[in-house]
Symmetry: C2
Subunit: 359 residues, 2 copies
């Protein structure tokens, strides 16, 4: 199916109405819409409006509470645990990040582990909330198990992303936001739509053999940790994904490892879950808790300028800074529009009809 | 040259005397010896006693201060910046980690960025200092530039390791400690000694072409970030190495990126260094700042037991937990002895002679 272009305003209007229709209050609907669409603007299409119908199905299955009483259940001066009350991760994570920022304002840093939540959109949104306060922001989340640890055939971890946002002065901020797998699941989905093969090193079969089959996850295959295989450091990607799982879910009391709740509503919940819902981990560090903010930001400018000037190889024009590609996409899409795949448009039309929304 | 076996006691005796001979006080010599040899015990041979003569050469070149006045130059309730006074990283990093632990005792977490330091041995040692306090420990450091960012031919980052140590209850702790490159430089050195090729994906030539030449770093080649190439996520390894560089050196006021001071004393110091010496970043999070420690540790036991039971692929016997291989090596070497390469033994004999030490 062909792509169609929409303005940010068009997508915002329909998304807002859908969130209100499932029972979100005005503030939560606004926030969830901002977080969700930040993915579409930044070019991470797998985590944006394409997932809206998925959230609605989770709500229909009774797995998402549209009007959660999000609260702190434990805290110290620099830490907190937040219970998301089964709310949308899209609103639970910003709530938790605000607490991290407030704690950082008082004691230099703030660290919040969250239980009883759901999918939180792109990690980068939450990490970037810290930037306007001259803070470094960090965000991670566990997710339903699609990834096999090194030497294993069993899916034990989610794609468990890490985002780190670091403010600069004249330069735009450094924003890294990546799954701890070789390739994110969204990249596989793009290949599936194109009927194309995946590069070797992204996925393996049910018996642990490397394969190029982009549909292998539907046949009990698994995504591979960053590094692809032991010889190329997959044990490091496995360790990173594990750290995200433990910080997000074991620290908070959420459900971890193979027991993380699935995003697709048709997949039954795991049995004997050791905790509540999905977990996140958010952090904020005030830059001037280390050195004067202007001094830090001017050195970040120097860092960024030097790395931009690194000698490119013959095959490439320039060296990029984490966040550059997303910023470029954002600029383009805010002026030219956001392209949606035909299947996503069809989904949205069905949603609009279900809730009697103009689209 | 053949390997020779030594007891921990033998290596400790000579190392201690060498550190004292260059002017370390008793406490610093003991500490530096413990940190350095923890690498040999755990099987990370490239970071242990094999580097002792390298530290001595840095001292001879006036780049290491054997009797540093290490001090806090800025702090908040949860953060500090430490000036290492050009001391051995082997003593500066534990000093900084103790501060992180003390801050965590008071406000839940502690985060210390260090400038004006030198090579700190294995990151895992410092992270593991947190374990006996029922804390999660983190340690990272920048290092001299050997790694080319994605799309670049220029060496801009060090192998910049990350270590995270997480306490468990009945199970041994989770200890991840890894370079943010596909392979650590030590792995290349082993291949060089064997005159063997490197797997494709570890290194590239001066012009950015993948190569199997294990000696390519001597020909202006570069190590590759974890992920190896863009298609396999090298931009993620590049981002991770950059985060380590920024947390360790830009936050602290150390020298960052391509300006990080080199470990080999014969390599001239970079010109126009933007900060002082090498940088580290140490963190400690009290587990009970999030949930009761016994509860957390019992869930970590459950996490570890479940991952150990993950279905192994046909080619492998079992799935490992980060820290397992090093623990196994430690057990073996403490009972059977520590094997040293002939070249390392020769180095040690020369050092012993220089300082009139029995060896």
């Amino acid at each position: 199916m062909t792509e169609q272009l929409f303005s940010y305003g068009q997508l915002k209007a329909v998304t807002l109405k859908v969130f209100k229709a499932i029972g979100c209050n005005d503030h939560h609907a606004e926030l969830a819409t901002s977080v969700l669409l930040s993915a579409d603007i930044r070019g991470i299409d797998s985590h944006g409006i394409a997932r809206l119908s998925g959230y609605v199905r989770l709500w229909e299955a009774g797995r998402i509470n549209p009007d959660p009483q999000i609260k702190i259940v434990h805290e110290t001066l620099s830490t907190a645990v937040v219970d998301g009350d089964a709310g949308l991760g899209l609103v639970v994570a910003p709530f938790a990040m605000e607490i991290a920022i407030q704690k950082a304002q008082k004691v230099g840093t703030g660290w919040v582990s969250v239980n009883n939540s759901n999918h939180f959109g792109i990690a980068g949104y939450h990490a970037m909330m810290a930037l306007k306060h001259d803070m470094i922001g960090m965000a991670m989340t566990n997710a339903s198990a699609l990834v096999a640890p090194t030497f294993s055939t069993e899916r034990m971890l989610g794609t468990n992303p890490i985002a780190v946002a670091i403010p600069a002065g004249q330069q735009p901020p450094f924003v890294a936001d990546f799954a701890t797998t070789t390739a994110a699941n969204g990249k596989l989905e793009i290949l599936q739509r194109k009927n194309a093969d995946a590069p070797l090193g992204w996925v393996q079969t049910e018996s642990g053999v490397p394969t190029t089959d982009a549909n292998i996850l539907k046949k009990n295959g698994a995504l591979l940790p960053l590094g692809s295989d032991r010889e190329h450091g997959s044990h490091k990607g496995y360790a990173l994904g594990s750290i995200v799982d433990i910080f997000s879910a074991v620290l908070s009391g959420a459900s971890y490892g193979p027991w993380a709740p699935p995003f697709p509503a048709y997949v039954p919940m795991p049995e004997n879950m050791p905790g509540k819902g999905l977990g996140h981990f958010l952090g904020a560090m005030r830059v001037d808790a280390f050195r004067p903010a202007e001094e830090f930001k001017s050195h970040m400018d120097n860092w960024i300028e030097r790395f931009r000037k690194a000698q490119p190889s013959a095959a490439h024009k320039k060296v990029l800074i984490p966040g550059d590609p997303e910023r470029e996409t954002e600029k383009e899409r805010m002026s030219l529009g956001i392209p949606l795949a035909g299947s996503v448009v069809k989904d949205l039309k069905e949603l609009a009809q279900k809730f009697s929304i103009d689209f």
